[in-house]
């Protein structure tokens, strides 16, 4: 058995495909690619795939990860080529590394997500107001979002602790861009759309792109691919 870790992108209208649908989609992509995926034992065998943290509906990404177990080794270049040959438009295999050691699941190691908001201020005459709003939010100790509770109903949750960092980039020609770094993983997270709902000033519907998922030990941050080497 050989383990591989793949980085792929999910862009354009594929942002409307849910995580669950993507999981099923990948099983079929791998079959089409004719790659030797290993299957679990039992009455209902399923391919041995390990996905990273789910990407929220409506969000694009250039940093999604997938662990795959194959029954034999295949050249990484060839895997990427074969995948890209059979992926629907919007999905792209970008990088692939063969694991030199046993890997911990992606969801167990990834703990930081970076989102990029484009066009937040597209129709605003005072984009600076949005930047000041982020500054204001950052100064709060408590930022409440309402989520659906497990047994029905709703609950309020303080998400301030999930906000790590932000950056305001002035892009010539295309208006300012907000980059937001959040906690993700077992300890919880704030979804990129939840963050927008905290705003008290009007904004435009932005394009949101997950640009990075990191493994951060407090001192260094590395890409999940780096853990394979």
């Amino acid at each position: 058995m050989v383990d591989y870790r793949l980085r792929y992108s999910k862009q354009g209208e594929l942002r409307f495909i849910s995580h669950l649908d993507l999981v099923r989609g990948f099983e079929r992509i791998l079959r089409r690619a004719g790659l030797p995926v290993a299957y679990s034992e039992g009455y209902n065998p399923h391919p041995k795939l390990g996905f990273g943290p789910a990407l929220p509906l409506g969000v694009e990404s250039v940093a999604e990860y997938l662990d795959m177990e194959f029954t034999r080794s295949v050249d990484p270049e060839e895997i990427i080529a074969r995948l890209n040959h059979v992926m629907p438009p919007g999905l792209r295999a970008l990088e692939l590394v063969e694991a030199a050691r046993k890997l911990k699941p992606l969801t167990a190691v990834i703990n930081c997500a970076v989102y990029r908001y484009e066009g937040l201020a597209a129709g605003q005459d005072d984009p600076e107001r949005i930047r000041r709003e982020v500054e204001r939010l950052w100064k709060q100790d408590t930022l409440l979002v309402t989520r659906k509770a497990k047994g029905g109903g709703t609950k309020n949750l303080n998400v301030r602790g999930f906000l790590k960092n932000w950056q305001w980039l002035e892009q010539p020609g295309s208006g300012p861009v907000l980059c937001l770094e959040t906690v993700i993983g077992n300890q919880g997270t704030i979804r990129p759309d939840e963050f927008l709902r905290l705003f008290a000033v009007p904004i435009d519907t932005p394009r949101i792109i997950r640009t990075d998922l990191w493994v951060d030990d407090g001192i260094n941050r590395v890409s999940p691919l780096a853990l394979c080497r």
Binding site: E13, F16, R28, R32, V86, M87
Partner: protein, 617 residues
């Protein structure tokens, strides 16, 4: 291209509307000579599962000059958004409005989708009535089982197509391409199209009525056939199986490869419309099926295959086929299934292979509770057959059986209703006896639908059970079917009743469909949207009596609204079968016994063909 990105972000399950799936064909809009919208009047998940549409999509798009795109009914949330933004209903491929196509083809799968059809036309910017549409509007055509009596929606369509459309669609498109180049008027185009066998142009047929509401006559205009006969593909072996299939992102109803083993079924169940209109039986050979499946598995990446047909276990070489497929693909983790595993037609050992060791539940379809009743409907299964099949299932490891029945079949008495409960109890006790250690794990679930008499069947003259009588018989059954291990499920009797009204309706009902739609009826087949009150209101406003259509015994001499539409099975055969039903006489399957002279084979100049090569002459 219609901009809907903003809207998609707000609706439930946006991937229903995005398109872009693997296997989607997107052709150059400007280069296509004729553009066809294949419309299905229900959600993506339902429509995308429909085999007939998959075949047409492939057939049209294979042709260099034609293009076909898909349009499904928008769920309520998208409809609201589209109306608010004044945007039209669009195709998935090019995101063009329905009105931009040359031909819009609807599938008539069930009567309760009629309001969705009007809603889709309206959202697509197409005037509802055919006579209000000019040459700037697309032609509207509909096919599918509903086209065998499309009269209640005749005024909304320019054309209907009877039968299997793979061959005819190209003939129709060739006429349209020529007409476009020559600049023919809509009336001229329809005249041309009416010459294609299987094409029915309702406006060329004038219907008159008697005082009592029955038909006085159906008069064909000059130069069009008096009766329109269905089209079928005579040699299914020569009819290519598509090598491509769309692989949806979202989980649809039949999310798998559908491999069509054969068409037609001659078991001759007298209530079954499919069994009459799809005759005769035409099987594909095992090698043909194997070859097609191999290509489809590679192209789609699906790990699930369904062996589709009206009654797949009747395929003459089913054992060879299953054995071959299991040998070839079990190592590749391909799951092969029969659409409904019916053990009454299928030995338990084979059923086991299909379930791959999983023994969730098995389905039987006795259809009726007593042997007498089963003879009436020509389902010659005896009580002993049932019990021995059930026994095989219990011994084979199953603990839960599902039994399907119908209520309101012709000549049904209370005894037949109680018979349903008795049969269920017998099966349950049998199971408990076999599963002595865990008798409480044994479960028999009984599902009862209301019989709807359908056109072109031996029971087309029979009354449907009234709603009051359905309720009484349901109570009767519920009283007799009590106890641990027994479960009872109904179908909503009101939807069956409405289905019954339209199944045998005439052209006057168009007003009711339109009013119901205006009152807000949509997705009538979806329990949460079914508004019986609005339908009753629509009938009130039209002045039409729904019971006249559903609950009346018709005489053999009455002119029926579909008498000018020919499904190949002759009226004499249907009447004869109706009389034999009354007498409790069985009519054998022409695959095993003599031809029962239903009329299809001589009429269409075809013959039944079985995979092994022995067809009947």
């Amino acid at each position: 291209m219609i901009q809907i990105e903003e809207i998609l972000a707000r609706v439930e399950k946006p991937s229903r509307y995005t398109g872009g799936e693997w296997g989607m064909v997107k052709k150059d809009w400007t280069k296509a000579q004729v553009r066809v919208a294949l419309a299905f009047p229900d959600l993506y998940e339902v429509g995308q599962s429909h085999l007939g549409l998959r075949l047409l999509y492939d057939q049209i798009n294979q042709h260099p000059d034609y293009l076909a795109e898909r349009v499904y009914a928008p769920w309520i949330d998208l409809e609201d958004e589209l109306r608010k933004a004044a945007k039209p209903l669009f195709s998935l491929e090019s995101r063009r409005s329905l009105a931009e196509f040359d031909l819009v083809g609807f599938t008539l799968q069930y009567e309760l989708s009629y309001t969705n059809i009007l809603n889709m036309m309206d959202l697509g910017g197409i005037p509802l009535a055919a006579r209000e549409r000019g040459s700037e509007h697309p032609l509207l055509i509909a096919g599918g089982p509903g086209a065998y009596n499309p009269e209640p929606i005749a005024e909304f369509f320019d054309l209907f197509f009877l039968g299997e459309g793979e061959e005819a669609i190209l003939e129709i498109l060739a006429v349209l391409a020529r007409a476009k180049r020559a600049g023919l008027s809509k009336a001229q185009v329809k005249k041309e199209l009416s010459k294609i066998p299987g094409v029915y142009v309702p406006e060329f047929y004038e219907v008159s009525y008697h005082q009592d509401g029955t038909l006085a006559g159906i008069r064909a205009a000059e130069g069009v056939p008096v009766r329109v006969t269905k089209r079928i593909v005579a040699d299914l072996e020569q009819c290519p199986i598509p090598e491509q299939q769309i692989v949806p992102f979202t989980d649809i109803v039949h999310d798998r490869i559908m491999l069509e083993l054969f068409r037609g079924c001659t078991r001759g169940c007298r209530f079954c419309q499919a069994g009459m209109i799809y005759r005769p039986v035409r099987e594909r050979s095992v090698p043909t099926l194997e070859k097609a499946l191999d290509k489809l598995l590679k192209q789609t990446g699906y790990g699930e295959v369904s062996l589709t047909s009206l009654s797949s276990s009747d395929y003459s070489e089913i054992r060879q086929l299953v054995a071959r497929l299991m040998d070839c693909y079990s190592a590749e983790h391909v799951n092969i299934s029969l659409p409904s595993l019916r053990i009454d037609a299928f030995p338990a050992d084979l059923a086991e292979r299909f379930q791959g060791g999983r023994k969730s539940s098995l389905t039987f379809a006795p259809e009726a509770g007593t042997e007498r009743m089963r003879r009436v409907i020509n389902k010659g299964v005896t009580r002993e057959d049932m019990l021995s099949a059930a026994e095989a299932a219990f011994r084979g490891g199953w603990q839960r059986l599902k039994l399907y029945f119908m209520m309101g079949l012709p000549t049904e008495t209370d005894e037949d209703i109680i018979g349903i409960a008795e049969l269920a109890r017998e099966v349950l006790n049998l199971g408990k006896g076999i599963w002595k250690q865990r008798p409480h794990a044994v479960q028999v679930s009984v599902s009862v639908s209301v019989f709807v008499p359908k056109p072109h069947t031996p029971f087309q003259w029979r009354p449907q059970l009234s709603l009051e009588e359905v309720e009484r018989r349901q109570r009767l059954l519920a009283d007799h079917l009590k106890g641990r291990g027994l479960e009872l499920h109904w179908h909503d009797a009101r939807t069956s009743w409405l289905e019954g009204v339209f199944a045998r309706g005439d052209r006057r009902l168009a007003a009711v469909v339109k009013t119901a739609w205006e009152l807000g009826c949509r997705f009538d087949g979806w329990a949460e949207h079914f508004r019986f009150d609005l339908w009753l209101e629509a009938f009130r406003r039209s002045g039409l009596e729904p019971d006249f259509y559903a609950n009346r015994q018709r005489s053999y001499t009455e002119i029926l609204p579909w008498d000018h539409l020919d499904a190949g099975v002759c009226k004499e055969f249907l009447q004869d079968e109706d009389r034999r039903a009354e007498a409790g006489l069985l009519t054998p399957d022409c695959r095993q016994a003599a031809c029962s002279a239903c009329g299809v084979c001589p009429g269409l100049q075809v013959r039944p063909s079985l995979a092994g090569g022995e067809g009947r002459g």
